[in-house]
């Protein structure tokens, strides 16, 4: 290590680094070493005179897929902003079966074999062992601006079987009934097969 480089943290000796380095599990995020295949879906999942929920851009990998939720208000609603109660999906201490359950936007995916994952599922710890059975739904990025728009990137761990793949939303307190939009899961499976290794040489592992 030359003098111009920052010193190594003492708790991570160089020779132990690959073993001790904390890595997030596959059900939390896409694999780091693949370029995804894209399914150009552009869906409006729900729309009322005041609010809308869109879903775009499936990024498919062999372990699952990502997509973006677009939460929109048509006009300012003081006190509501555009989060659609979505922050409650990320916080600890939220009881989705409790008194305020109807105030949360509900989001989920449904597979043709009956399996599903939603944002009301039991919240898991990142280091949970054993890993949960697929599918799981994890919200990996959220960003809002100007009170009217909110973008949420979701990661669905687990690929769907062939057949219809359903995206479902419901927001009881805001007049959005359970609404389901289906696409052909084959599109996601084909895109996952198009994912390309970033570092194709396996001897580098």
């Amino acid at each position: 290590v030359s003098a111009s480089e920052p010193p190594e943290p003492p708790e991570l000796p160089e020779e132990l680094e690959p073993e001790v380095q904390y890595r997030r599990p596959a059900w939390v995020e896409p694999p780091a070493d693949l370029v995804p295949g894209i399914v150009p879906v552009e869906l409006i999942l729900a729309r009322t005179p005041e609010r809308a929920i869109g879903l775009t851009g499936i990024r498919a990998y062999p372990t699952g897929f990502g997509c973006t939720l677009h939460l929109r208000l048509r006009e300012d609603i003081p006190g509501e902003q555009s989060t659609f109660g979505a922050f409650n999906m990320f916080g600890d201490g939220v009881d989705p079966a409790g008194e305020f359950a109807d105030y949360y936007l509900r989001v989920g995916v449904g597979f043709a074999d009956g399996r599903k994952a939603t944002n009301l599922d039991h919240r898991r710890d990142l280091d949970e062992i054993p890993a949960p059975d697929p599918p799981t739904l994890w919200l990996v990025r959220w960003e809002g601006y100007d009170r009217l728009a909110w973008e949420v990137d979701a990661w669905v761990y687990g690929l769907p079987p062939p057949g219809p793949l359903a995206f479902v939303v419901e927001w009881p307190a805001r007049g959005i009934p359970e609404t389901r939009v289906e696409i052909d899961a084959g599109l996601v499976l084909e895109a996952a097969a198009r994912a390309v290794p970033i570092w194709p040489d396996p001897t580098r592992r």
Binding site: Q21, D76, E143
Partner: protein
Amino acid sequence: MSFFERPPVRPPSEPRMPVWARGPEDMIPGVVPVALLVARTATHAVLIDNLLVYPTGFDFNLAVRRHPGHPRYPEHRWGHDLRLEVRFADGRTADNNLRRWPHPTGDQLPDPPLLYQSTSGPDGGHVWLWGLPPPGPLTFACHWPTEQIPPSQAVLDAGLILAAATRAQTLWPEDVSA
């Protein structure tokens, strides 16, 4: 009459973001059906992912990936982020250098293209580009000296961006307004 009288609704006083700093809120964007690998070293890669297009511009994830054998996170230092430049076929460029961020007055709109990186860190960030490219090659170039990523680039056919822009959907067209 209720004991509790509701106060009059007070509209938020927070200023609005200018139209050139974000996509239109009343639209769902069109999707570009490819992801781009812009840079790759033995330890790092930079992807342009999730290209979502509106009639006024497009946004995307600038994703920094680390080789699974080298997952160590750098100490994030302000001002040492990945540098990104987008080049249009007509020679116009935009980059994520905050010192070039415009300060237009009143309703004056800055000249496109303009690049606004809303989040930034060791995983990359999220980027909005104000302005659509002309047909031809659209170049994404990056450079990250502190992570030893040399100047690197990838080229996308701007036609894919322009086609996605035409697929952006208006959520509340006037003829179906409530």
